[in-house]
Symmetry: C2
Subunit: 227 residues, 2 copies
């Protein structure tokens, strides 16, 4: 991942560039499918091509950009098939994270319960932005308590690829609040030390996210590669 534990040292040039691009994507100034040229950034940021190229590669590895030989990079845009592929992997890994995190969370459920309370409040008040933010925190909590850096990185990569679609869902689909029932169920299973139930709840939650994303209109997806 681009983000490491220690960020004390002055950020390197490529880190600066990578952060700028990430911010632009997060801020919607760069949209999925959009092409990024090297010159665009060498000029604006006053850095050399080497640094821009490396930043491109790093973000490609992070799942935020997609690279094609001789054609440069684009903000990653998934096809519907790729979304399905991604969610198959994500389901398995989020379920794993829950299993790994369960003992620790069951032993010290306070943070989870606090977060759940905030989720309930946001859902009740219909605050989408807040709910979105909290939803992210919810998932990250499992990754954190799972204490498996590789799992965390892998899930983060998947999450990066999904950023925009997830955002569209949060903005367009009021149904997202219904997913809070999954959160509640999951939280209940954790406190009850019910591993099987937690596994099922997380898989159901992920599957619902997949369905919501797939319900978005075609123009949010890349055309299928294979006819």
């Amino acid at each position: 991942m681009t983000a490491t534990v220690q960020e004390t040292d002055s950020p390197s040039t490529v880190e600066t560039v990578a952060d700028a691009i990430t911010a632009a994507v997060r801020g919607g100034r760069l949209v999925p499918g959009q092409r990024l040229t090297e010159s665009e950034f060498t000029g604006r940021l006053g850095v050399s091509r080497s640094s821009v190229r490396e930043a491109f590669r790093r973000l490609t590895a992070d799942g935020l950009l997609a690279a094609e030989p001789h054609r440069g990079v684009t903000v990653r845009q998934l096809s519907r098939r790729e979304v399905d592929n991604l969610f198959e992997v994500r389901g398995a890994l989020e379920a794993l994270a829950v299993q790994l995190a369960l003992p620790a969370l069951n032993a010290a459920p306070a943070p989870l319960l606090a977060l759940q309370a905030e989720l309930d409040a946001a859902a009740g008040a219909g605050e989408m932005n807040r709910f979105s933010e909290l939803n992210g925190r919810f998932h990250r909590m499992f990754r954190l308590y799972a204490e498996n850096p590789l799992l965390d990185e892998t899930l983060t990569r998947l999450s990066n690829s999904l950023y925009w679609l997830q955002f569209r869902v949060l903005v367009d689909r009021a149904e997202v609040f219904e997913t809070n029932r999954h959160h509640q169920l999951l939280t209940a299973c954790i406190t009850a030390d019910d591993a099987a139930g937690a596994d099922a709840a997380m898989r159901e939650h992920v599957e619902t996210a997949r369905r919501l994303i797939q319900s978005l209109p075609d123009d949010h997806f890349a055309p299928a590669a294979h006819p």
Copy 2:
């Protein structure tokens, strides 16, 4: 992944470098933990630093090398903890691959059965190299039939990180032949369309691989980062 479907076009320079390094690792000329300098390869292969640096990054993304700022890259060497982390992820993903591949393999089991027969023969004859090769084919078959490129890439990356340890196990541990019982069990579950059984068999198989690797002496592992 470095390997793509189509390899028709003449290999680019960085591809050449990456392949050379991969071959050196596979051939044991570069051992885990060993440091690679850029000059080493610019000289020997007659290419520029740009290409070597990019090859390093690509192989790092592929899990074969590890990079540290200002310290260059080394052939990736896992700590025991990282091995455990990796196998947790691997178990979940190999199990997923089996689930996804099951329908197709159950419908057309001929290739699987043929491979199983070869495995049995190799195990019976005690041919380690052959068994190792077939074992790899066995796992790749599930990834292939799962028809999920992302899953395939992710598992390949994990496999790359494990290359050397897996190799040592194959060379040092006669117990590997016992794992063929898992193959047989798995094959049986596939042909019987027993999803739950296949899942359990694969997880058991992966867990055994983890135990075998962890049974290797300490000098095959990187020292733990955090005490």
